[in-house]
């Protein structure tokens, strides 16, 4: 599905990613764990076409897509759920969703809209409401729903749990797990390593722009460096308390 080789990218003269290689298999959820400023969001922005990489290659299947524009990446089946949701607050929920399908012909849109409403029933209830009036969790659902409107084969998720109450974050992740079952591949950037490693199949740990560890979620969870740096010392699950 997605194959990244030696991606080097950044802003101006700041190199935030130094030769990152990773891959996401079809139907797989892969997470990228790292501290603030480690290069996680730069990676997603580069993959979405928002930043042009300085070096390296990106493949979707056998096709090289390294320097495609954001709209071309969407047409290639890659959709980004950006950090902080980036919704159009005065517009209705439904209009926000329809914007997500701008690369597609109109006739298929209503079917996809129904599917998104199926995944997030609350959005159907609030379809006419301005997006800015939604709760944080609902806004995140809308941001994911909007990305799904382009019928992506690869979903890039930037911090979907950010600013959400733990229970709401868990609901969002439950929905992502449902999505995975419907064969959507996902690359998930997440500060909440607990949630991410529980939902994802595999993961990469990124430090100052370089991958230092990779493995299935279970082996990352049992890695002591990961425990110390991202899961917290003597971390507990909610039900352990």
């Amino acid at each position: 599905m997605l194959r990244v080789e030696n991606l080097t990218s950044g802003y101006g003269r700041i190199v935030a990613l130094k030769g990152v290689s990773l891959h996401v298999n079809p139907g797989e959820m892969v997470t990228l764990i790292g501290a603030n400023g480690s290069g996680k969001s730069t990676l997603l922005s580069t993959l979405a076409g928002l930043i042009r990489p300085m070096n390296g290659k990106v493949f979707l299947g056998n096709r090289e897509v390294t320097r495609l524009s954001p709209e071309k990446m969407v047409r290639q089946g890659v959709a980004l759920v950006p950090e902080g949701r980036q919704l159009f607050a005065p517009m209705s929920v439904e209009d926000n969703l329809i914007l997500g399908a701008y690369t597609r012909r109109r006739d298929g849109q209503s079917g996809t809209l129904d599917e998104v409403f199926g995944l997030f029933p609350i959005l159907r209830e609030r379809r006419a409401q301005p997006a800015g009036t939604l709760s944080g969790g609902e806004q995140q659902m809308l941001a994911i729903g909007r990305a799904l409107m382009s019928r992506p084969s690869l979903l890039l998720l930037d911090e979907p749990s950010m600013g959400l109450a733990p229970r709401i974050a868990q609901d969002i992740f439950a929905t992502l797990s449902d999505l995975k079952r419907s064969d959507t591949s996902m690359l998930l950037v997440e500060q909440n390593a607990h949630l991410a490693l529980r939902a994802a199949d595999r993961g990469y740990v990124i430090e100052t722009g370089q991958i230092v560890l990779e493995g299935d979620s279970e082996s990352l969870r049992s890695n002591r460096d990961v425990q110390r740096a991202y899961l917290g010392r003597g971390y507990q699950e909610a039900w352990d308390a």
């Binding site: 891959h23 430090e207 002591r224 460096d225």
Partner: protein
Amino acid sequence: MPILDPKTETASRVVLRQVQLERLQATVNRAYRHVTYYRETFDRAGILPENIRSLDDLARLPITTRDDLLAHQPYALFAVPLSDVLRLHPAAGAGGPVVVGYTQNDIATWTRMAARSLASAGVTREDVLQITLDYSHGSAAIGTQSGAEILGASVIPCSGLSPERQAEVMRHYRATVLAATPSQALRLGSALGDLDPASITLRIAFIVGEVWSDALREEIESVLPVEAFGSYGLSEMAVPGLATECECHCGLHVSEDNALAEVVDPETRALLPNGKAGELVLTTLTREAVPMIRYATGDLTVLDDAVCACGRTYVRMSPTHERTDDMVVVGGGRVSPKQIETVLHGILPDAPFRIHTTGGEGLENLEIRVGMSPEWLDGEMRRVQELRDRIETAIHEHLGVSAEIRLVETSRIDRPPRGGE
């Protein structure tokens, strides 16, 4: 034979190379950040981790030798704090043992590698596995046991028994798989004597040890009613599981998602193309505690990347039976004359000695003749016996091999032994 992890073991080269590149880069990044030795050698070579942009770039990194490991004992090559290490296995070899640490994940990965190896030899949950490998030295016995348990086979750990007792255990428990060094397998074969072949349930010999060849397989298969599979391990990395024969017996598949294999010219250390014989150089891809980058194994081999009939896409290495150094390979272990000298002279300073190996390939016995004065040898028999035992014990403890010590008159040391070698 069933393939335990078909998704990885039969992955296309494109997929495999991607995984290898990711793991190599992560390994190099971690080694550079956490191990001073690697940071210094990379810096001296003028290479930064981000310069490793393809698998071909691996050849730009410096070679690590056994001497480098020895110079950084016990823990300077660890990339994790000792508190993250669950197990330490001393790896015997030239210049003394080096210690290899394993994290929880390292043990799990290694166990999986061993399980894959056993599966490729045809071991299943129905099998009863008799392990005659020595539990007190190296990691081969425990690695084989853990791997077999993953497969659900029944394991009989029984090192340290005489061949006759091993044969009894084998018959009594109806063992179907023997996990042994070449010499152990051959000795068990001769201990069977004229036993009714129909009463023998053994069907597979899983051979662990540093020596392997087609001739050795034929020899083992002529004394035991088994199909014998060779397996390559390196106590500095993992035994067994680094490479194992499949049913085609056409070389040993290197566990390429866990280790990268290269072959270099033993003199110049220049990279050689596949198909050319040279020294095997291995780089770990999944090791957390002690990552090793371009470790020169001292073993001579040839790599073959032609597609194998078994379906595995992993490159095959030819059986190793030659070394680039003066190591003597005995009973699955290996020692250098220098090591023997160190141990021996620790007990008898300056005593002259001579090393003899007897028996054929795979059945080597190590005999060390130590020169003594005639007056000393004329003394009490008990004293001679005690000294002999002391040296034998010390050699076994320090070097992990069994040697027969013969105390002889010094004048007999320089002459070749009767009957030649």
